[in-house]
Symmetry: C2
Amino acid sequence: MAKKYVYSFGGGKADGNESMKNLLGGKGANLAEMAGHKDLRLPVPPGFTLTTEVCTYYYENKRTYPKTLKEEVQKALEKVEKLMERKFGDPVNPLLVSVRSGARKSMPGMMETVLNVGLTEKTISGLVKQSGGNGRFVYDAYRRLIMMYSDVVMEKAAGIEPKDSESGIRKQLERVMDAMKEQKGYKSDIDLTETDLKVLCGQFKVKIKEVLGKEFPDDHMQQLWGGIGAVFASWNGKRAISYRRIEGIPDAWGTAVNVQTMVFGNMGSDSATGVAFSRNPGNGENGFYGEYLINAQGEDVVAGIRTPGPINEYSKSENNKDHVTLEKTMPEIYKQLCDFRTRLEKHYRDMQDIEFTIEKGRLFMLQCRVGKRNGPAAVRIAMDMVKEKLIKKEEAVMRVTPSQMDELLHPIIDPKAEAANKPLAKGLPAGPGGANGQIVFSAFDAVEQKKQGKNLILVREETNPEDVEGMRAAEAILTARGGMTSHAALVARGWGKCCIVGCASLHIDYDKKTLSVDGKTFKEGDWLTLNGTKGTVYAGKLPMMDASEENRILNDFLKICGSVKKLGIRTNADTPEDAQKALQFGAEGIGLFRTEHMFYGKNSDQALFLLRKMIVSKTKEEREKALNELFPFVKKDIKGTLQAMDGFPVVIRLLDPPLHEFVPRDAEKLQMLAQELNISMEELALRADGLHESNPMMGHRGVRLGITYPEVSSMQIRAILEAAAELLKEGKKPYPEVMIPVVCDVKELNDQLAIAKGIYAEVLKKYGLKKIKHMFGTMIEIPRAAVLADRLAETAQFFSFGTNDLTQMGFGFSRDDIGGFLPDYISKGILPEDPFQSIDQEGIGELIKMGIQRGRKTNKTLEVGICGEHGGEPRSVEFCHRIGMNYVSCSPFRVPIAKLAAAQAALKDGKKKK
Amino acid sequence: MAKKYVYSFGGGKADGNESMKNLLGGKGANLAEMAGHKDLRLPVPPGFTLTTEVCTYYYENKRTYPKTLKEEVQKALEKVEKLMERKFGDPVNPLLVSVRSGARKSMPGMMETVLNVGLTEKTISGLVKQSGGNGRFVYDAYRRLIMMYSDVVMEKAAGIEPKDSESGIRKQLERVMDAMKEQKGYKSDIDLTETDLKVLCGQFKVKIKEVLGKEFPDDHMQQLWGGIGAVFASWNGKRAISYRRIEGIPDAWGTAVNVQTMVFGNMGSDSATGVAFSRNPGNGENGFYGEYLINAQGEDVVAGIRTPGPINEYSKSENNKDHVTLEKTMPEIYKQLCDFRTRLEKHYRDMQDIEFTIEKGRLFMLQCRVGKRNGPAAVRIAMDMVKEKLIKKEEAVMRVTPSQMDELLHPIIDPKAEAANKPLAKGLPAGPGGANGQIVFSAFDAVEQKKQGKNLILVREETNPEDVEGMRAAEAILTARGGMTSHAALVARGWGKCCIVGCASLHIDYDKKTLSVDGKTFKEGDWLTLNGTKGTVYAGKLPMMDASEENRILNDFLKICGSVKKLGIRTNADTPEDAQKALQFGAEGIGLFRTEHMFYGKNSDQALFLLRKMIVSKTKEEREKALNELFPFVKKDIKGTLQAMDGFPVVIRLLDPPLHEFVPRDAEKLQMLAQELNISMEELALRADGLHESNPMMGHRGVRLGITYPEVSSMQIRAILEAAAELLKEGKKPYPEVMIPVVCDVKELNDQLAIAKGIYAEVLKKYGLKKIKHMFGTMIEIPRAAVLADRLAETAQFFSFGTNDLTQMGFGFSRDDIGGFLPDYISKGILPEDPFQSIDQEGIGELIKMGIQRGRKTNKTLEVGICGEHGGEPRSVEFCHRIGMNYVSCSPFRVPIAKLAAAQAALKDGKKKK
């Protein structure tokens, strides 16, 4: 038997089905499924699909077709004619068809389409009759066919290259039409009358002959084969090829061609067109939600010239509440549509986006596909479908994307409003979500004006620890300088607060209290709106959407994720409040408590002063004195967090940043410090200067401080163990993990462990305890540490990968300085994306894998986690799962996202293993 | 047969030999060899060795000895008595012995010794008789025995711990002796008379009884066994244990004990003691060189109280030219000694350091070992011995250490003068060798004063490209700030010029033209002396030694090294002059030509100006204009170097450092630049400011510049290829290798290769050539590049490891900032040494190995080299050989050292393979 090249669909039957995407393309398979599956049998306009094998044959045989193709097409066409009771090329009752591409994977807009094929001088009168005498409609269809066909088939597919962008046939025909409109004084295409269009069609044909040297083919079969050939040719068009390169679609796949009956929703008041969602895509409610337009084509709905009406009461909104519903105007059709909705959902087991057309009282289903939805809707639909037993719990987990989850966790700018406004400026997206507020230029003013109940945006050159109260008071923070590791960025991310940093085009004048950007000037009290997820700033007050309220459904959904995931999810939290919040989101411990952040926090003035005193100390005596004064503050802070996380592990990192970061810049604070230390301002300046470094990121920080000033480590370790001891005495179950940062050699760990052991013995004795449950481990953030992980694991009980620094050192990219070149790297495709956003799996990931593998070789019980910001990024979380980490840790606000990503990773992994 | 525990030597015979070091210890085996080997049979004082197995037995059996030991010792003692014709403990003609340790590996000063064992109240008179009636000599020997024995045997070996450092028995006896001296008004021990010493011995015995509660044993056999026990016990003394920990000597080895006849060089005018070298250790001449003292003990020669005489005319110097030679006073003995010298050299096949004693006209050889020598001597001796057929060429290569080689290549401070002076200050050793000169504070003054023929030291806070002429004019450069990668350090190292940077204790006042340090003030014209190899600064003009003159012997030696080594040796050179110099030293190409250094060089003013113009350009147009003007300078420079290296490969690295490094600081230069660009000073400041980075080492540099400004790469690649094309036309054989720096991804290489390919085609066409021999490759200096080396090698034809940056990123150590913590890391033993000096083989080396292995996996013909400064460091060179690199590259002055190290590595490797 000869190979079958053409697959028919329609009339409750189909040769193919959904599973035949490779052969029929996505669209062809979908049409066959809708038309032929026993549970559906929907009234799709009948038609047939030329398989992708025809395309392959076409390119392998010098653009010719298999011998049997013509006959198969003819037979398929006859089936359609029978179903539609019309005949292709018939003057009395003509059948019109569309010719469309359809590859295995959707390539939107990359290939060609021809509509209204079969309309000729001969068949025009028949179509006029079918349309109930609507001559204008018919001539408009005809001029569209001529324009499309001459462009797509006669010029492009024929390989004719216009001299320039203005001399293509389409442009030339448009100019003919514009001339007619100008001559008649028309403003819009709609003003063209039947007569005008008739004249235009004639002018078009003359122009085509003149430009392309060929006649427009007024034969229906020639039109059909011309269309088919144009679609196959467009598979190797420039746009399609470059799209395939980017998306990694193989050239060999080829496209199918779908030939399908044209149906018209604009054949009068008994015709209509519409789109609908089987559930509400805005909130996920199980309501049938859609719009329709009487006497219109699909493109009219999209164009937005006429306001569509609601299909039912449920779909009514402010804009369309006065329109009559489809349910009322065409109750029978609506009933049919409802029935189809039910069948589709049952069959596809997901919310569907449906396109339909009613031609002279007859309902046709044009397309159905999985409907797009926002975050709240995605969660609700998934959970409802579990309840309705449409899907299993595991499937529900896969139905929500991490970015949809993110939408639930922060207020966002209303997407419509955002799309309608041009950004004023762009900076680095340092804190998520959106916010609007009135400009304020100092932390002090922010605190004061907040008391008046204002929404505020704190605008600064950059921030420092003295600004913390003002930062808390503001809705969002905007800085002109600083990178993703600047003070503002770190603090805001920790709080989950909207923040944009390094917005270089801002010019701030603190004296005049003005902000100039892009030629505009804003003063204090003016409104700005920020999108901290994208880094865009807008002038004025854009409306917000709040999706973050307490949500029972979300919690249920997260419970399912929790039961499926394998990875532990911890949080990066530096205060008891953060810890509380993270627990609510389902965190299972703290993966990163940054000692230094206590000096940025609420009421941290005195502690910060003592820290500074320690930092500018010159002798060991001065330093120890300051440390002794600092000790109770540190212990209290740690105790609070251990208590909040009772029973869960808390990884406490010893002091990490270079000390000079804490030196005050404010003259008054410097004066106080000099007085306290009883030294001159010159001496203080000299000491502060001595802390300056050329490349602080690779300087005197982390464990290097602990090696040169063992007393600094001692104080911190004592604070941790005493805090735990006191909680134990109070009947709590503290579980600290002491983490040493910036380690590159096991001997650094051994040195610090010796200190820790001494203090542990002292604390046990002091509190009369036998044991304090704790661990001692290290961050892996220096490339050498990953390479020598086997040695480190001889001492360390746990590893936590600090992927921010590991990415910095591994790439040699200073995160604060990548602004100069990373945009070019991404636009030129040298890097697929910012490696600080998603782990570079190929390079840095290789170092991480090496670290885990080598570490577990010498220490079978090694606990492995990640505490870089990648810990809350979905693809990175999946990577962490795949390479066998025990947990990921991320900011409290990203815990749900990490949980979802971990659950999805576990499910994908399970699938693969089967 | 029972195990043999005691090995005798003496009288032309010995039970053991040199090969039995494990059993007899180093000293015991050496004595056996000297005494018993048929080619030697030297008159060593007879004695015997208790083996290391006795020590092992001792510790395994609760500090007891094997049963047979006593009898073996007795028999060995009898042999000695027979040879010396004296009897141990005999009142008439007593034998005295020394008891000394001797482990497998020398542990100098870590274990105990007891001398004069066998001297008792009973034997005193016999010794007086032997010494020709010298009672003072005998009682002095007796009081020494008492002091030593009570300390070593009765206190230490008995495990008695004194309360404090003042209450040990030795200190107490010293106080008794001091009291005697004070009472008599003596200044020195020498003033004590025979009677005094006799009284003192009595007082000592009383004190010992009082403090230790035991009598001093006046029995010869008890003394002997006490001494033996004390030596074994000292193997587990605190000092010895900690020394073993540091040196990695296993505890299980144990020590041997050597019991040997005491011979005295201080028994009158027919006695003497001396040391000699079988060749001159100062210059390597084949002359017998030594000193001796009549009527003295070995310690007197060392103490320097009396000036020793020369053994022969050859050994005469300014200090001792008036002394009578040994050759004259004791011609027979001298002849004997000359005979021994010949036998020793023939036997040991190396220059020997000999200790001898003449006791009453009888010559004893106490010790011989390989003699220490300086660099010139090492080379000369090795080459002479090859000529004399004493050693093979390959052995000659192993006889010179790289640091000895270094001595030949730079002037150095006279070591005696240096030892006698305290350093004034210490900085980082940035350029090798020594220099003295008069202080000058500006580059301009340096150039001017050089014209007056002065030796100058240029002293600056730090240097910048504008100082280059002055830096050339000075003998050495001294800066208060900057690290090992600072401008001064880079330039000086490239020139092989003495330089110290980051000498923080200097306070420079440019206005007053003074330099204050450590409370002293120096003005312009004052003399300083610098040791750039150590980083030490001395006040005043210290004498210099110049070992760097043209040296035929050195060249012959290097030829041998060249014939043995496997590694290629290239040089880092940036000018035709440097290239010439390196060729003289035997370089086989250039491994690193740094484009940017041409802007630091001679007559670089205009080029630097144009570079700056390019750097502060804002638009592509501005930038291309500057690049076009710059092009001829760059081409000329590259052409000169390619020409100098004709036929050899020249690796040319494209612009590497962050651009802001080149921005001028000088107001006048800034003004010129603003004028040229026709912009305001404010605008210029703004542009310069925009180039500032937080961590420039990980910022916008290297290939990142080439990605963002492709025109910068284009200009450089065009300059390289056109320079080569012109040379080809001139009949030369240029061979450039284009090297892309700071690469982390193969796509960066592909991007730059595409540029290079386009330009290559253009240049071929322009010059009508078919081919220009060249390579395209990359530096591996970013950890990610090492990890993804397999990908990089798909594009790169060569790798050159930039180990400076790889060490920085791999450790996360900014080389400019390690001053804050590295000293503590080294003093605490966390790192064995500065990883910027010698490659960290364990960590960074692992990354390098990974890079080579992965790179060669995808590219079998990949050329691999190293161009970091480690390329001239001997252990790093050996490492590079071992892991299979093709070549190392280092500064011209280190080429000979690298060559030697490479030859030694090849020989060691060959040995291992056998």
